[in-house]
């Protein structure tokens, strides 16, 4: 088993709207796979569909060779998939510490070590340990969202636009962290910021109008100005 996740011919609707028409991609173990595409292409819906938050109309999603399409989100999470949503999903009335504790499936030594490791990367979270999540800045919320997904020993992390709405200096910090996390876990990343995506990603899939239209190695994409201009608007 080289691929941790395999998405085949997935179709998904949001209410009466057909959002995903034909999504196909694979996420190899130990790599960062990036989903690229313009706004509204279906990248976030793809992550939500994997996570069980949108129903799969057709197709297959295999995680560790096991079908997870249309399973309930809590079952998918307990199989070892962590999710950092686009809106971060911080529990605003819970403190930073409580946000992290509520995410911890176990409070054993291993989890504590992971918590310490992520807190060393994001010292702000330690500093504001007792502060309600709602009072954090946008960057701190993003750090908390990533820390919350990382604190458990997940096999796969789904991270949705971690750079969205953040100041460049915070984007750099988040990028550095994901690069370090890359050493320890497999990541499926959705990112509009091509600079960040190209630095972190090992391979890419381009989604356009609900379909995967192109894929390859990230280093090849960096050279392909035509493709970048056509699908990503990057010149």
């Amino acid at each position: 088993m080289n691929n941790l996740l395999k998405v085949s011919k997935v179709k998904a609707n949001i209410q009466q709207f057909h959002i995903l028409h034909d999504i196909n991609f694979e996420v190899p173990i130990g790599e960062v796979t990036v989903l690229l595409g313009r706004n509204g292409a279906g990248k976030t819906t793809t992550l939500r569909t994997i996570m069980g938050l949108n129903p799969v109309h057709n197709g297959s999603i295999l995680f560790k060779d096991e079908e997870i399409a249309n399973l309930k989100p809590h079952l998918i999470a307990n199989k070892g998939i962590g999710y950092v949503p686009e809106d971060q999903g911080i529990f605003e009335d819970l403190t930073v510490g409580e946000n992290l504790r509520v995410a911890m499936k176990r409070e054993d030594q291993e989890t504590t070590e992971r918590l310490d490791w992520i807190l060393d990367l994001f010292p702000d979270l330690k500093k504001f340990w007792k502060k309600p999540g709602g009072q954090l800045s946008g960057g701190q919320k993003q750090m908390l969202a990533i820390a919350r997904a990382y604190v458990n020993e997940n096999d796969l992390l789904l991270i949705d636009e971690p750079s969205k709405g953040l100041a460049p200096i915070v984007v750099e910090k988040v990028m550095e962290t994901i690069l370090q996390m890359k050493e320890k876990t497999t990541i499926l990343l959705v990112e509009q910021n091509f600079h960040m995506a190209s630095k972190i990603g090992d391979r890419f899939y381009i989604i356009d109008d609900g379909q995967t239209v192109h894929n390859g190695l990230m280093e090849d994409l960096r050279q392909d100005k035509v493709l970048m201009k056509k699908y990503l608007g990057v010149s």
């Binding site: 529990f91 819970l94 509520v102 009072q135």
Partner: protein, 332 residues
């Protein structure tokens, strides 16, 4: 010993101090009506705290919470009426009442908590209506709307004993619920209130938590119903009325949702206002229609204290500006 030391926080000491003052209060009170009114406040405070578990901590709106209050009151009253009115019989009756409430809240929860919160609200209203109609029509058992009086154990006939029993129950339930809401279970409840799908994608089966909290809330509400019935020594179908649910909703919102202390303050304010306004009925007819005044107070509280009394005070103390709070309310 460790548990006791850990529990002796500053806030717990303050709460225990207030409880101790309330415990000696009957020895300084002269009028029985005041003592009775304070007993009623204790009972409704327990009821309001049970509602706060649903609304304040989990974000579940129920329009049928009176159903559990009524189940507690009627089950115990029927037992007391049909069997010996001694302490053993009362304990047995309370056990049956609480178990019955737990079963009903489990069934209602499992059937309705899968739905969106507004559907749950409407379905609980329907279930409560069902219990009201059943209580009115099953006259052989409930004596219908006329209700009935019954004997209670000798010791509880003394109003001071009833006052102390209600106060002790309030204190024990308050600390019990506080422990529950500060536990990992309580944190999951708050997470569910804030973002249900996010909580689910963290690996929690949300329905289990919602059903479990609705059972706890139902059991506590039924226990409040038991105390209410014991304090009145009379029961009729009014305990199932929607007014009772609206009262407890107001107590919780005015006091401050998600605080546990708030509903106690809300219960005191509503009961005192009820008592005071009813006394003004001779002055002007409008005071007989106290529900109009409640409505006005409710509108004013929602506008000026969207977090309730305790919630607003806590927000001020924690340095959050009013604009932040309102912005968050608007967003939710």
């Amino acid at each position: 010993m460790n548990l006791i030391t850990r529990m002796m926080t500053k806030s717990n000491m303050i709460y225990l101090g207030i409880a101790a003052l309330l415990l000696i209060l009957p020895f300084f009170l002269t009028g029985r009506s005041v003592q009775f009114m304070i007993t009623q406040i204790f009972i409704f405070a327990i009821f309001a705290m049970s509602y706060d578990l649903l609304l304040g901590y989990t974000g579940i709106i129920s329009f049928g919470h009176a159903m559990f209050f009524g189940i507690g009151a009627y089950t115990t009253a029927i037992f007391m009426d049909r069997f010996d009115a001694n302490i053993l019989g009362l304990v047995l009756a309370i056990g049956v009442a609480v178990l019955f409430a737990a079963i009903v809240s489990f069934i209602v929860g499992i059937l309705t908590l899968r739905l969106k919160s507004h559907f749950y609200a409407m379905l609980t209203l329907a279930f409560a209506g069902l219990f009201l109609v059943a209580a009115e029509k099953w006259r052989d058992l409930t004596k219908g709307n006329d209700g009935f009086t019954f004997r209670i154990p000798e010791i509880l006939r003394d109003s001071t004993v009833m006052y102390i029993v209600s106060l002790v129950c309030l204190v024990l339930i308050f600390f019990g619920l506080r422990r529950l809401t500060n536990s990992p279970f309580g944190r999951v409840l708050v997470a569910i209130r804030e973002n249900e799908s996010r909580t689910e994608s963290l690996g929690y089966k949300v329905l289990h938590y919602k059903v479990l909290v609705s059972v706890v809330a139902g059991v506590v509400a039924s226990f409040a119903g038991v105390l209410y019935m014991l304090s009145l020594r009379f029961v009729n179908t009014s305990v199932f009325h929607t007014d009772v649910t609206i009262d407890v909703l107001l107590m919780t919102i005015i006091g401050g949702v998600g605080t546990l202390v708030g509903p106690i303050i809300g219960a005191a304010l509503i009961e005192l206002a009820h008592h005071w306004i009813s006394g003004l009925a001779n002055v002007h007819w409008i005071f007989e229609r106290w529900i109009i005044l409640y409505g006005t107070v409710y509108i004013l509280v929602v506008i000026f204290f969207p977090l309730g009394i305790v919630g607003t005070i806590r927000a001020k103390l924690s340095g959050r500006s009013k604009s932040n709070v309102l912005e968050k309310k608007r967003a939710s």
